[in-house]
């Protein structure tokens, strides 16, 4: 029996001819071979008239109400694959562990800036007030900010006893690092640098100039425990003392 390639859209592959162009102008016809995907007047009119290509009947993320207070859940698996690819890509671009962490931090930074606005908008403009004290904004980050990103509050919020401008947020089970295994020769690396970037972005755009780094501090039962160390700029402390 001949083993033809099965192409479900046509009864037989050999029946496709050069004249069989697809209705949308896109797609691959094996009888023609590779063709240019350049935008012609025909295809551009199709593209313009088509708003979004919806694969399912559910409305796309752009059609949802932005002030929707219900938490929007996404799949942890797809998030992990995306984050895995982010780390992988950044790893290929960077020159060392420090550089890799810097790049991850930078990626998270812009998310933090936007997310702060989004959460404040969702909380409602009337009820909302601007946090002026370091401790207030940190409670916000540790509480509702964390909850809307990761679905739960961070585990602990601590203040350094020795250094006045250092605070710590401690997360026992970092969601993004759940499936990540740090190889031996990258011992110091913590992919939480991405989350640190989110915190830094949010705090910076709230007017608290800060430097955030992520450190692995494993504990019994929590091998992935991560400490986010926040070093506030001196100007914040001076402002704090004036109030």
């Amino acid at each position: 029996m001949s083993e033809d390639i099965i192409l479900p859209s046509a009864t037989s592959l050999s029946k496709l001819t050069i004249h069989d162009t697809s209705k949308t102008g896109f797609g691959y016809n094996p009888a023609i071979g590779p063709i240019s995907n350049s935008i012609t007047s025909e295809t551009s009119s199709i593209l313009i008239n088509k708003r979004t290509i919806t694969l399912s009947s559910a409305p796309s993320i752009y059609e949802r109400n932005i002030t929707n207070k219900k938490p929007v859940e996404i799949n942890l698996s797809s998030l992990s694959f995306l984050f895995c690819e982010i780390v992988n890509w950044t790893h290929g671009q960077s020159r060392g562990i420090h550089d890799l962490e810097m790049k991850l931090n930078k990626l998270g930074y812009s998310i933090g800036q936007r997310y702060l606005e989004l959460i404040k908008l969702r909380d409602g403009i009337k009820l909302n007030k601007r946090d002026l004290k370091i401790i207030d904004i940190l409670h916000f980050i540790h509480g509702s900010f964390w909850k809307s990103i990761f679905g739960k509050h961070a585990n602990e919020l601590e203040k350094s006893q020795d250094v006045p401008n250092e605070y710590m947020i401690i997360e026992n089970m970092p969601l993004l690092a759940k499936f990540i295994n740090i190889p031996k020769d990258y011992a110091d690396l913590n992919c939480g640098a991405f989350v640190a970037g989110i915190i830094e972005g949010a705090l910076d755009s709230a007017g608290f100039y800060v430097n955030v780094t992520a450190h692995s501090v494993p504990m019994d039962g929590f091998p992935l425990r991560t400490v986010f160390l926040m070093k506030f700029d001196q100007s914040c402390l001076i402002r704090e003392s004036i109030h």
Binding site: M1, S2, T11, S80, E85, H91, I180, N181
Partner: protein, 173 residues
Amino acid sequence: MLYSILILNKAGGLIYQNEVNPGLNKLSTNDYLVLAGSLHGIHAIGAQLAPNIGDKTVPASVEEFNRNQNSSIMSTFKAQSPNTNRSGLQNIETSLFNLYIFQTVTGLKFMLITAPNPAEHKGELNKQYDMAHELFRQLYMLYSDFVMKDPFYSLDMPIKNPLFDTKVRELVN
């Protein structure tokens, strides 16, 4: 009683080997590689072996064949060719050990080496086979979670992942 877990990549290279319980003669790393390669070959040949009797009647035309194929794919979500034995070698049972093989659709192979069928399961031929397959399912899940989602793992390379090791140990015990 499970002795050993092996994972082979699609080219037949050994990428993971874990002796869960002692009880097998120690093999050198090289021997394990040879074992993995040989079983990979046997599995492939086994997939080609199929009796020619009871063959379905040959469809009149290529179109009809394709139509039948398409409808069977649509209803079962599996590509099936009537004349090949897709599963290949599945298990080897000896008086000293049992060996089970599970191949995923991507060509990855999981292998388990266990103690032979225990006496109390006499008459329940499939009992240990079913247990092995449940274990395969769990192992496949762990592999997809903790190996495939690890940004520092490159495909088809040996798995050196303490996190995966821990999870496998938790699964087995």
